[in-house]
Subunit: 211 residues, 2 copies
DNA sequence: CCAAAAGTGTTAGGAGTACACCCATGG
DNA sequence: CCATGGGTGTACTCCTAACACTTTTGG
């Protein structure tokens, strides 16, 4: 019986918020195929590691950070998605807060940088599809989970929180309704600290998961 | 550079409703590993087919039917999930209505049969995990989509519809509230036909997707 | 004193939930 | 005539959405 061996990779959609924009980490490819074009970071799954471990390893290689939100997204396996041969990829997405969104030393040389998701350059392979799925998933989960807090620093103002939702959902929200709704969730701990950068000082909050 | 080649399979969670129970199609394994135990149907992805095509092919091989709901579920890649070696699997789930849930000729010999999801026998590999993910996905999607209709024949009564929801969610629903809610969705076309099996004849409806 | 962002309540409409009885038919 | 499942309405609560002004500070 013929053994159907294939190459298996993980690709990562690493998202953060910078300058009021949702941004994705892209690397500039140095070698063919698609040399000079942009791509999602990723790499081969090793013999002795799970898919999740491979994704976490790649994530740490790119960002130097381990303990950030990481979730499997979808698997892509069109026979012609990689011109070099049959490669199937398990895509993951990660969320990282702006205060931790530094790039690992050396990745800068590889051309890794944060690009606004609205207006990414043309992507290699089927990576635009992968990005689209990631954005859809994030928008969906934002509505019924608290994943969004992964994109905020530990201390944040209610305006920060609202802006995060507005940036991801790409629509503006009513300030009063928004505040009433999140307060009702009982997941915000008001701190005795105020952010004094703007005009009127804004109260800082921290996120306390329910249960 | 070392090439990390792995074997890639698709596994299928094929669900239907029979005798007021949600049931899953299982095959009895004839060869090691796990010979004699039950497993989800599945098989290797061929060189020239996409993951979706592989899943659809396996589905047709088992059920003889092509045009049924099929959606990618999750990928499983623990290095030790298959004792024969490194095999990663892309799991799909399919929904088939009871009037089409016949098994393909010859599959009966392979021991394929429908088992109630509450009370499946012990499953080979990590197939219990896969089944659990499928049930969670189905329950989630039931709340905000119309996938449930994939489990009903073309013509059904409102009681059939409600029973389908109750069986999947494993809780009873209020008849009046349920009917008001589904009628408000404007996805039901009342037919000029009645099911005369019970005592009082029940009106039949068909599903008309919105938009 | 002015510009900028923080903060705060009320009302109206829609959705969800709880709840009980009559109807049509087959046996 | 009776057992069985089919079919229907109302009241209350809660969530959502629309909407505008005052407060605090820095410059």
């Amino acid at each position: 019986m013929k053994i159907h061996a294939m190459q298996v990779t993980v690709d990562l959609v690493i998202l953060t918020i910078q300058e009021q924009q949702l941004r994705v980490l892209l690397v500039k490819r140095g070698v063919p195929p698609f040399a000079g074009e942009y791509a999602l970071p990723g790499g081969f799954v090793r013999e002795d590691e799970s898919l999740e471990e491979a994704a976490a390893r790649e994530l740490e290689e790119e960002t130097g950070t381990k303990d950030i939100f990481l979730e499997q997204l979808y698997s892509f396996g069109d026979p012609r998605r990689d011109p070099r041969g049959r490669v199937i990829t398990i895509a993951y997405y990660a969320l990282i807060s702006p205060d931790r969104a530094r790039l690992a030393a050396g990745t800068d040389a590889a051309g890794a940088a944060w690009y606004p998701v609205s207006g990414v350059p043309k992507l290699a392979f089927d990576h635009q599809d992968i990005l689209d799925v990631a954005l859809g998933r994030l928008r969906g989960k934002l509505e019924y989970t608290t994943v969004g807090f992964e994109l905020l620093p530990k201390k944040f103002t209610l305006s920060d929180l609202q802006q995060m939702y507005e940036v991801i959902l790409n629509k503006s929200l009513d300030k009063r309704n928004f505040r009433r709704k999140v307060q009702a969730l009982e997941i915000l701990r008001p701190l005795k600290e105020w952010q004094r950068t703007g005009r009127k000082p804004a109260r800082l909050y921290s996120f306390v998961p329910r249960n």
